[in-house]
């Protein structure tokens, strides 16, 4: 039940053909630190895009600004056709995220946590959705265990379940397979690919795992010191740097070897 002007509230109209994420000349300066400098990109609906870069490259700040958790110093952000942060309320219910910088209440069980987030996102059949996620992400063995008593890998799966509770059209993931063993990580990656296909969802993920990015992403944006260093398909980027793997490209970028001088 809602009060005031919420009967049934209509978010401001958005162009359905617009990009899932549209970022223009984004800048974030913390006092004297330039975390993000003049970043511009568009992410098509239904795509998986990887945001690559070393520590301090500006990936997390960029994602946080797209989520509306950090206000940009300047620049423009549109998510699912709505300007952020002005119309955040219109899109929050259709997006979700997972990040190592946030956690869920430790004393609450997995089921309790997912129930609360299901209700926050107004999921119509919360119990059914939790049962479905528990099957999909193999949570049944610890569904009634306190979040604080889970292993790191289990916590990552629970965080992913929370990120999928509202079946978001836009999923923002920061290191989605961190702390997972290779088998579970591979299984999660497969799940994300299936989710994208079945829900026509857009996924933007920041990762240090180059194999993961190579396997999952249609497109890669490489960031360094707050700027976009490169932006293309994994194949094109590897070809441009003359490398066989993204890991080699990553090292070239991190160590300041340019495309021509990489080999």
């Amino acid at each position: 039940m809602t009060l005031l002007a919420d009967a049934p509230a209509r978010p401001p109209a958005a162009d359905p053909r617009s990009a899932a994420i549209d970022v223009e000349h984004l800048v974030k300066i913390y006092k004297t630190t330039h975390a993000v400098e003049d970043v511009t990109f568009r992410i098509a609906r239904g795509s998986i895009t990887g945001l690559l870069g070393g520590n301090g490259a500006g990936k997390t700040t960029t994602i946080a600004m797209i989520m509306g958790l950090v206000l940009p110093t300047s620049g423009r952000i549109q998510v699912l056709g709505h300007p952020i942060p002005e119309e955040s309320d219109a899109v929050r219910g259709r997006m979700n995220f997972e990040s190592p910088y946030v956690d869920m209440p430790m004393r609450l069980t997995v089921r309790q946590n997912l129930t609360i987030f299901g209700k926050l996102y107004a999921v119509p059949d919360v119990r059914g959705r939790i049962a479905q996620l528990a099957d999909d992400l193999d949570l049944n063995d610890f569904l009634d265990r306190a979040n604080g008593k889970l292993s790191a890998g289990q916590k990552t799966r629970v965080a992913l379940a929370k990120a999928l509770i509202n079946e978001p059209k836009l999923l923002l993931l920061d290191e989605p397979t961190a702390s997972l063993d290779p088998d579970t990580a591979d299984w999660v990656r497969q799940h994300l690919q299936d989710y994208r296909k079945t829900h026509d969802a857009t996924i933007l993920l920041a990762s240090h795992n180059m194999l993961e990015v190579e396997r999952l992403c249609d497109r890669i944006i490489i960031m360094k010191r707050g700027r976009i260093e490169d932006d293309d398909t994994p194949e094109q980027i590897m070809a441009r740097y003359g490398r066989d793997t993204l890991e080699e490209v990553f090292l070239d970028v991190a160590r300041g070897r340019d495309r021509e001088g990489a080999r």
Binding site: M1, L69, G93, M104, L120, R129, E167
Partner: protein, 274 residues
């Protein structure tokens, strides 16, 4: 197409407030020390001050005549203090568990978050103060509820002040991280000498009386003393208190929004540490 039909609203959604109250309720039930803490201090307070009141009453004719003013003051002070703590501790739980980012990213709106915190403040207050009032009656024969209708006005004024302070300090913690946590525990104690909880305003130096009258709880404690000592209900004091409270409440809400915006500018919402 997404299989979940998500409702998006411009107004205040009760289901989101309910979800947050449920979250704090689960937490309370999961931890018996949290429950015990809610009633432990109020009980110690009432027993200590109740015996002091009994002792003074036997030796001083004024206190014998104004029976219950000390115990009444202790209970009303606890409503003020624990009302704010109940609000702020629920907020701190989000900081301690690093859950604030999840909430701020969800459709939950700041006003809904604050209403949930106010609701929890009432629930926590009830758990702590109701046993306290029963003990006051059982041990010292002081029937707190016999104050009647004025009690509702005392309560409303005190709880509004406690929420205003709670909203303000939560904004400070939001902006400055857990390094500002000590403010949550200590700010309300400014009221202890200035709001004249245990003595009349006339005791203060003349210049300090202006400060005291700027604080809404001062009117409540003066009103309580007038009621218990002179058996007079001062409606004027309650209205004055309500007017200052309204201004304080709006100001604290606007400050909270400004601090939230500042936290987003400084990137404080993702960390939450010191």
């Amino acid at each position: 197409m997404s299989g979940v039909a998500v409702r998006e609203g411009r107004g205040i959604a009760l289901h989101r407030i309910g979800a947050m109250v449920l979250r704090y309720w689960y937490l309370l039930l999961s931890s018996w020390p949290r429950l015990l803490e809610l009633i432990y201090w109020p009980i110690l307070q009432i027993i200590t001050w109740g015996f002091l009141q009994s002792y003074i009453s036997q030796n001083d004719s004024f206190f014998a005549r104004a029976g219950g003013t000390l115990i009444g003051a202790v209970i009303l002070w606890d409503i003020l203090f624990r009302g704010q703590l109940g609000f702020s501790i629920s907020f701190l739980e989000e900081m301690w568990s690093r859950n604030l980012g999840n909430l701020m990213m969800s459709p939950l709106k700041p006003i809904e978050f604050l209403i949930a915190l106010m609701t929890m403040s009432l629930i926590r207050l009830a758990i702590g103060v109701i046993p306290m009032t029963l003990l006051a009656w059982f041990f010292f024969g002081f029937t707190f509820y016999s104050i009647g209708l004025p009690l509702i006005l005392f309560f409303c004024n005190l709880i509004f002040t406690s929420w205003s302070i709670g909203i303000f300090v939560s904004g400070l913690v939001l902006r400055n991280g857990l390094g500002a946590e000590s403010i949550v525990w200590t700010l309300m104690f400014v009221m202890l000498p200035l709001a004249c909880i245990y003595y009349p305003v006339s005791v203060l130096p003349h210049w300090l009386q202006y400060v005291a009258w700027a604080l809404p709880p001062t009117y409540v404690f003066e009103g309580m003393r007038a009621l218990l000592t002179d058996h007079t209900f001062r409606a004027d004091l309650m209205l004055d208190s309500l007017a200052i409270n309204a201004a304080l409440f709006v100001a604290s809400f606007l400050i909270f929004l400004a601090l939230l915006r500042s936290a987003k500018r400084h990137g404080s919402l993702l960390g939450g540490g010191e």
